[in-house]
């Protein structure tokens, strides 16, 4: 009798575990396999892959697409990185808007929308993040994968006890061996994340990239926010862009120098290891703040949270916030306008290496009309002009 009851209990728990396993497995599977269409805009002249620059990345989840927009007039080359940290969606969406709308008259624009594609397939473990989010458009909605700051452990595991950055040998947090903004410039025989950086470093060198701009978002409790972080080679460009944007675009953006002592970051290592100027843009994302309330899609897209507002009243924030929050349109708009100003000022200074781009909305356009107004309808697009991320 006693044995029978124990067997029943074990069976019930096993079944319960199986239900949880299947339900979680399905959620992980759906997240990892959610297809994100990119409707190639009129300016996209080629779609390459990172493996075109480094074969070692071929066949891995991080063999990201590289969208090339080449103008008729020769000029410079600029690389924009979206999705280094896919839990910061404004960077990916801004790059998406460029891919679907931009037309280049002069020079070449390279776009990567999923710089760490592996990190788009997982969210913060135990963080109860939504696995996706949808942007409303006039034809319905477009759904994107929400991601994490780190590569998916399914793709790179286990983490070491200690992470020694290559080549500086600086000791970094062990988990940051999966953080693509701590593994620059990368190495060919390293981890997946290091190999991804190495592939992009090869791209930068082989394509003669003049400027790399890495798009990010930051919590309001982090001091490096609403700013352009600039390698010393890009100080003048960042300083003047900051002033032009603050004077003309309707929002303020500051400037920070890239610290030499902090290794592995794009704004440090790309500038040090290639001829390119490296810049990193930060927009405010309340979703990432530790003192947030419910962690849902609404917070991700509207950026409204009364607990963070309260933290601001206690002087704990480095950026302002009120009941209007930080909607995704403002954050994407900031990135788009900052990119355009940097392109314009660079072209003004270096005419022979210039990049002239049209068709991309600025901050005020995106704030007025929303992000969805600048996303194309995959259902009515030419199937030959659709690529999946």
């Amino acid at each position: 009798m006693k044995d029978h009851a124990a067997t029943l209990r074990k069976t019930a728990f096993s079944l319960l575990a199986l239900v949880v396993l299947i339900s979680a497995g399905l959620q992980f599977y759906r997240h990892r396999n959610l297809r994100e269409p990119v409707v190639l805009g009129p300016g996209v002249t080629d779609v390459k892959n990172l493996s075109d620059y480094f074969d070692g990345i071929s066949g891995t989840i991080n063999d990201a697409h590289v969208y090339v927009l080449e103008g008729e007039e020769p000029g410079g080359a600029i690389l924009v990185l979206g999705g280094s940290h896919p839990e910061e969606p404004a960077g990916r969406l801004a790059a998406w808007i460029f891919a679907e709308n931009a037309v280049v008259q002069k020079g070449r624009l390279f776009l990567i929308l999923s710089t760490n594609r592996s990190a788009t397939t997982v969210t913060r473990l135990g963080g109860a993040y939504p696995t996706d989010y949808s942007i409303e458009t006039n034809f319905g909605s477009r759904t994107f994968r929400m991601g994490d700051r780190w590569s998916n452990p399914l793709d790179q595991w286990p983490d070491p006890e200690i992470y020694i950055h290559y080549p500086s040998r600086q000791e970094l947090a062990y988990i940051d061996i999966r953080n693509i903004n701590r593994t620059w410039p990368g190495r060919p025989h390293g981890t997946l994340t290091e190999q991804t950086c190495f592939a992009m470093t090869e791209l930068i060198k082989k394509e003669g990239i003049d400027i790399v701009i890495d798009l990010h978002e930051a919590e309001l409790q982090y001091p490096v926010i609403s700013t352009i972080v600039a390698h010393s080679k890009g100080q003048d460009l960042a300083a003047f862009s900051s002033m032009m944007i603050s004077g003309m675009e309707g929002f303020n953006i500051g400037m920070e120098n890239s610290p030499e002592a902090l290794r592995g970051l794009s704004h440090r290592e790309i500038g040090d290891h290639t001829d390119a100027i490296s810049l990193l843009l930060e927009a405010p994302e309340p979703f990432l703040d530790a003192t947030r309330g419910r962690t849902d899609r609404k917070l991700l897209l509207e950026g409204k949270d009364r607990f963070i507002v309260r933290a601001g009243k206690h002087g704990l924030l480095f950026e302002k916030i009120d009941e209007n929050g930080w909607p995704i349109a403002l954050r994407v708009g900031r990135h788009c306008s900052t990119l355009l100003q940097i392109f314009e000022l660079w072209t003004e200074e270096k005419a022979d290496r210039g990049l002239v781009v049209s068709g991309v909305p600025r901050y005020s356009d995106i704030v007025d009309r929303g992000v969805g107004a600048f996303l194309k309808n995959p259902a009515t697009a030419d199937p030959n002009r659709i690529v999946y991320e």
């Binding site: 001091p223 490096v224 609403s226 700013t227 600039a230 100080q235 003048d236 960042a238 300083a239 003047f240 900051s242 002033m243 032009m244 603050s246 004077g247 303020n252 500051g254 400037m255 920070e256 120098n257 610290p259 030499e260 002592a261 902090l262 002087g315 704990l316 924030l317 480095f318 950026e319 302002k320």
Partner: protein
């Protein structure tokens, strides 16, 4: 009548003299080129001022301005001894913990360097301009709880400046206005940093 005529003429002469004296009075400190630009707190402010000076296109042989994040009183002495003294010192106020960390220095180091720099500048008769151009981000809004380095930087520079050149948003609590009033320092405020270009042109061309 003759006497009245003489009184009128005398009064006119006195008025004319007063007028001459009035126009001959200094309008305030007159900064001259060349300029040494540094910061007190290793903020990126000097890089922003460098761009402003580039755009202002001030001409001076051999060079109108120089940026030195770690400028010291020794640099000023060396310039004077070499016969190429700086005439104006601009110190950008506001601290960056990242910037100081990168330079391997503390706020105390910055305060001592600044104090020595201002003392030498005054000794050489240079004009000292205190500048704060990064708004509230380089004040309380940009500082962690308990981090007073931005305010220490202001205290080390603003009261000892001959001119204050300030972005209006960073003066929204009247911090600089109060110092300017107490110390009788001319205060130039700009709404946008781009306006600094014309202000710099006016300051050095008048």
């Amino acid at each position: 009548m003759h006497r009245l005529y003489r009184v009128v003429v005398a009064a006119a002469v006195v008025l004319m003299l007063c007028s001459v004296v009035s126009t001959a009075q200094p309008e305030g400190p007159k900064p001259e080129l060349p300029v040494l630009i540094t910061s007190c707190g290793q903020s990126p402010g000097p890089a922003m001022l460098k761009v402003i000076f580039m755009r202002a296109k001030l001409e001076y042989d051999p060079i109108a301005y120089e940026i030195s994040e770690m400028a010291s009183s020794e640099d000023l002495k060396a310039g004077k001894e070499a016969g190429t003294p700086f005439k104006t010192l601009i110190i950008v106020m506001g601290a960056s913990l990242k910037g100081m960390g990168a330079a391997g220095i503390s706020m105390e180091d910055e305060l001592s360097r600044t104090e020595a720099l201002i003392a030498e500048a005054k000794k050489q008769g240079m004009t000292v301009i205190g500048s704060h151009i990064e708004g509230m981000k380089r004040r309380s809004q940009g500082a962690s709880a308990g981090d007073t380095t931005d305010e220490q930087s202001i205290d080390a520079v603003a009261p000892f400046s001959d001119i204050l050149l300030i972005h209006k948003e960073g003066n929204s609590d009247n911090r600089f206005s109060i110092i300017a009033k107490e110390k009788n320092i001319p205060l130039i405020e700009v709404e946008k940093n781009l306006d600094l270009i014309s202000e710099i042109q006016k300051l050095f061309h008048r």
